[in-house]
């Protein structure tokens, strides 16, 4: 089984918590987590619902392998209609709360309505109750975590919370769990804030024991762990250097978007790289990196725990930032560093801390600051708009100041909090917004890595690298090397990655396992844990079904093929240096073939035949 077969439905308007059985018919089609929660969401809300209205719903969902002994089986996702994009939003996080929800006996929490006053959900196994959160409202994620642990006198309580940014309507607010793991993107935290739901605190002691074939499961789990341990990437590369090792790789190949995508190589990349994090600082002789860290059940342990020099300007007068904390991961380091032109590692680390503390998506925050910096450099905005902040590319002090303002919803931070698209629209320079469907790009230039352009344009949650990480193939040669500068063949690659990732995101496993695991490693773990005869073919079809369900929701919400596009800077302005010099994204050559491979019309809509084939 692996599923707990039980959902907690939380009616925030009326203050009730009710248990209901999991729809197993849907579980057989959508597996769990991302897929199954999206099925619930699309059945229960109108696609045209206003994301920040009480009629929108927010689902915290685990997968069937969440909380089991499978390596990385600690993931959970937050699913809702996103306020940043107006599209389906699904943000995945590690840490420990996913496994705790499952161990408390639940597959999902579905939040509906809006609480009349700030509340938090407290769950201790079967017992679930909404409690007043007046003492938490206005507090940061970190303060909320401390206060809830104190109140319940339980050090093992696992907490997911929003910070002040979500309360203030920042459109890229995250749900942060375990202090510094984030269901980061698309403003899922903003939706939580709009419902007056401050936090979810969970303690589970029941475990996840209901495995279909326990002996077979343990055998496949042990085999899977051996593959991860023996693979040089998951066994050595990721634990030692984390995702941040990519900073120099992507810069070297001329695909590191720099200064709001004006350039493709950052001269300061080395200073904010994974290697730099391991180097003793000139100032205090200590390295930025303290240790690596693992999420629940993970045998890779790619997480970074860092520490800032106490004499650094950002923290000199703030001892609360002197201890070790989460980050930097590559995406955050790029958005807060390369995209803003800031090469001060401690400043970038500090800005990342603030994103966790105030509950903001570090990618969207950094990318929006980058757009604001270009507006400033172009003279569209001045210090009169920014409350005196010299918002120039490379200004580390400005980055730190604007991070605090955005987190608190003060000054020009209120403008940043609306995201890059709305900011650039307001100042009549929409061309400077590096977004798709309203969501900011992550850290790979679509001119130098062609598959990523198609990935961004077709991602169901707006620009995102985690919907089909073709970087694995185009740059790292996993599972096989393809040429990043060539568009040919990429539609099929993108579709394959999209469908596979949808399966992994619906299982409870981490997508990073796929640097070592193929479907042949994943399938036995799912099939021995879950009833339903999950063959590789059935899993692949589930992935395709999930992708099409998300697509259909977005089409019903008003999106069209015209939204499957990229900013003109990527389509028309050639890369300025490196191997991709002179190239633009060849999206136009890839998109028709992609639609065809998907079984969609030239207008990007699933054909009746495709819908019927997938049971949609």
């Amino acid at each position: 089984m692996a599923w707990q077969r039980k959902i907690l439905r939380v009616d925030l308007t009326n203050g009730t918590c009710k248990s209901e059985p999991l729809n197993m018919e849907w579980a057989m089609q959508y597996l769990g987590q991302r897929g199954l929660a999206t099925k619930y969401l699309t059945e229960e809300i109108s696609p045209t619902v206003e994301p920040l209205s009480p009629e929108n719903k927010l689902i915290m969902a685990t997968g069937p392998l969440t909380g089991t002994m499978a390596s990385t089986g600690g993931r959970y996702s937050v699913i809702t209609k996103g306020p940043l994009t107006g599209a389906v939003a699904c943000s995945n996080s590690g840490g420990f709360i996913g496994a705790e929800i499952k161990s408390a006996g639940w597959d999902m929490f579905i939040f509906e309505g809006k609480a009349p006053q700030p509340m938090y959900l407290y769950v201790e196994n079967d017992k679930a109750q909404l409690l007043p959160a007046d003492f938490l409202w206005g507090k940061s994620v970190w303060e909320t975590d401390t206060l809830l642990h104190q109140k319940h006198q339980d050090p093992l309580l696992r907490i997911a919370a929003i910070g002040q940014s979500a309360e203030n309507g920042c459109l890229f607010a995250s749900v942060i769990n375990d202090l510094h793991r984030a269901a980061g993107r698309s403003g899922v935290g903003t939706v939580m804030g709009s419902k007056n739901l401050k936090a979810v605190a969970v303690r589970g002691t029941l475990g996840v024991g209901n495995i279909r074939n326990p002996k077979g499961f343990m055998k496949s789990v042990v085999a899977g762990k051996q593959v991860l341990a023996e693979n040089a990437v998951t066994g050595q590369g990721l634990p030692a250097y984390g995702t941040q090792v990519l900073m120099n790789v992507i810069n070297e190949m001329g695909a590191l978007p720099t200064r709001n995508w004006r350039e493709v190589q950052f001269e300061g990349a080395g200073k904010i790289s994974g290697e730099a994090m391991c180097e003793p600082r000139a100032t205090d002789g200590k390295a930025n990196l303290v240790t690596n860290a693992a999420c629940f059940g993970c045998t890779i342990a790619c997480g970074r725990i860092s520490r800032i020099d106490q004499e650094h300007f950002s923290v000199k007068n703030s001892p609360k930032y002197w201890g070790a904390s989460g980050g930097l991961e590559y995406e955050a380091a790029w958005a807060l560093g390369g995209d803003t032109g800031v090469d001060d590692l401690d400043a970038v680390t500090y800005a990342n801390y603030l994103c966790n503390e105030y509950g903001m998506d570090s990618i969207s925050f950094g990318a929006t600051v980058a757009a604001a910096m270009e507006l400033f450099e172009d003279g569209v905005i001045t210090t009169a708009d920014t409350d005196g902040i010299e918002l120039r590319f490379g200004n580390a002090e400005a980055l730190c100041q604007i991070a605090e303002q955005t987190g608190k919803g003060e000054g020009f931070g209120k403008e940043i909090a609306q995201g890059s698209k709305r900011l650039c629209d307001k100042y009549k320079r929409p061309d400077l917004s590096m977004t798709v469907k309203g969501q900011e790009f992550p850290a790979y230039d679509a001119r130098g890595i062609q598959g990523m352009g198609l990935t961004y344009a077709t991602s169901n949650r707006g620009a995102c690298h985690l919907r089909s990480y073709t970087v694995a193939s185009e740059v790292l040669g996993i599972p096989e090397k393809t040429d990043p500068l060539v568009a040919e063949g990429k539609p099929g690659l993108v579709k394959a990655f999209q469908d596979l990732t949808a399966v992994v995101d619906s299982s409870g496993l981490c997508v990073f396992t796929t640097f070592a695991w193929t479907m042949d490693d994943i399938q036995p773990q799912i099939d021995t844990a879950c009833e339903g005869n999950w063959s590789v073919e059935k899993l692949a079809e589930a992935g395709e079904r999930i992708w099409n369900l998300e697509r259909k929701f977005n089409l019903d919400a008003g999106f069209t093929a015209k939204d499957d596009t990229l900013p003109e800077r990527v389509l028309k302005t050639p890369a300025n240096a490196g191997p991709a010099k002179g190239r633009v994204s060849e999206l136009g050559a890839m998109l028709p073939e992609y639609y065809e491979l998907r079984g969609w019309t030239p207008q990007g809509e699933p054909t009746q035949e495709t819908l019927e084939r997938l049971g949609l």
Partner: protein, 84 residues
């Protein structure tokens, strides 16, 4: 002799000649030296070589023994790594 730029990243950084900064060193090599020869010169174990770029362009495994460096080129090498 000619001069190239050698960049060794992640765990390969320990094989850089003394004086290297931010994983980068200038290196004098003989004409015609292949990628394998250059890496052998500084002692990088072959089994640790995974990702190889010359001036940012990916080099396939079969290139390692055959591709000769030219003056002014940048050779960048990583062990098996990934991110996201």
């Amino acid at each position: 002799m000619m001069r190239i730029k050698l960049k060794l990243f992640a765990s390969l950084g320990q094989y850089l000649p003394p004086g290297a900064k931010q994983n980068i060193a200038e290196l004098d090599i003989s004409e015609g030296m292949t990628i394998a020869a250059v890496l052998g010169k500084v002692g990088v174990p072959r089994e640790l070589v995974k990702l190889v770029f010359i001036d940012g362009i990916h080099q396939f495994p079969q290139d390692i023994d055959n591709r000769a460096l030219e003056s002014g080129e940048t050779l960048a090498v990583w062990p098996p790594v990934a991110g996201g």
